[in-house]
Symmetry: D2
Subunit: 136 residues, 4 copies
């Protein structure tokens, strides 16, 4: 089973509420796909802030899992999110993360979210996860 | 109808997915209450990041509505969120916002989220909304 | 020697480039005063961004020293700064910090900077310091 | 005179305290070089936070000038800075900015700062400038 499939399986077991799919992961990078459903939308047809937050946070988490393995106890400590352009309601959202610093206790990265096929990003976010110390 | 009731009514009409209630609003301040339900929880009993993001973002929006009136087109441009302590799964979450700058086109404030009855905050966030220009 | 005087002495020895003075510190709080000099100003008479950053960062550091004692190895990991209003060039700047979370390895707080005598803040910032582990 | 030289000239006239040099600018991008001097250093040989802040802020400003022309009244509204690795005191610092959103009133971008010749970044920052409306 490749690493994307492993992470999809891990998320399905440990985070059953996650509805996005991992498409690529590795070398401090992740790409996830989120199919927009009715529950993600705000009146007027825009995607809700919490949905976009969830995609940014997940893309970061997936890239981290790709570095350190399946770690259910890694937690977000900070996420700074900029909302740049309105997403298209009928398109999938793609979240693309690259890790910027992989430390022993803190991992930091950034995420772009795009409506599929669009050039201008919907969101840019930076975030930090705290990684629990390894037991010896 | 007092201003809290007005905003609750506005949210119910325009943002039917919002499940939090406005408790107080006015003088650049808001207090909202969020009853934690099963769908808000992560395995292990902690409240999900997107739920906490949604509370922070809403507290800010409600405080802004208290300043400028019912404005469906105000949008978040930036939200910086720090996750500080684990919330208690069986307690309501309270989001308390104070506006720090009320400009013509940008309004900025901060939010603390607490599990009811706890002293240590669960979340601190700062955020900025963009306010559409008034038509003349 | 009271704690403010101790920290002023520590800063003078270990951070000789610091030009601000500690006025109050304690209970997860600090107040520092910065006399604006020519070198702090931008053409047009506004205080430069790096000067305001330095005040925010120092207020946070001083509040942390008040909690954990003189620790030269505590370092800023993140600082998020919002520039809200123009400072007055002829007034001292006051930086007021309160710590929001005091953890073992990370301490987080926020800072307001004011031109003395003004009600509207010049800057709001939130920041996190990493604290080195205690040797045993 | 090419655009880098124009911006260097503009900075020299309007921001005489700036000590960094523009190396490249264009297509929503800038690269600036900062020679580290004694006054930039902290005891222990690390570069001070305000110096790094100044480089991040300037790289952003230069990329913006490359887009909109010489605009002395553009001002930073937000800068979120992550300190990732210690810079080398004897190397020049390079600040590399790419603009992420170029709006009419707000421009947002991110910046990496490197010690010359090092692969790991010293700083990652995201920032937003407010652009004054054009007079008609």
């Amino acid at each position: 089973m490749d690493i994307s499939a492993q992470i999809n399986q891990f998320l399905k077991n440990d985070f059953p509420q996650v509805r996005s799919q991992v498409e690529k992961v590795g070398e401090r990078y992740s790409l996830i796909r989120h199919q927009v459903i009715e529950a993600d939308l705000r009146p007027g047809g825009t995607v809700s802030g919490p949905t976009l937050f969830a995609i940014a946070d997940l893309a970061l988490y997936v890239a981290i899992l790709g570095e350190i393995g399946m770690q259910p106890l890694a937690v977000t400590t900070n996420l700074n999110i900029n909302f740049l352009n309105k997403p298209l309601p009928a398109k999938d959202l793609l979240g693309e993360c690259r890790l910027i610093k992989v430390g022993k206790s803190l991992i930091m990265g950034d995420v772009f979210i795009y409506s599929e096929g669009q050039e201008q990003p919907v969101v840019h976010a930076t975030g930090t996860y705290s990684i629990p110390p390894k037991r010896i």
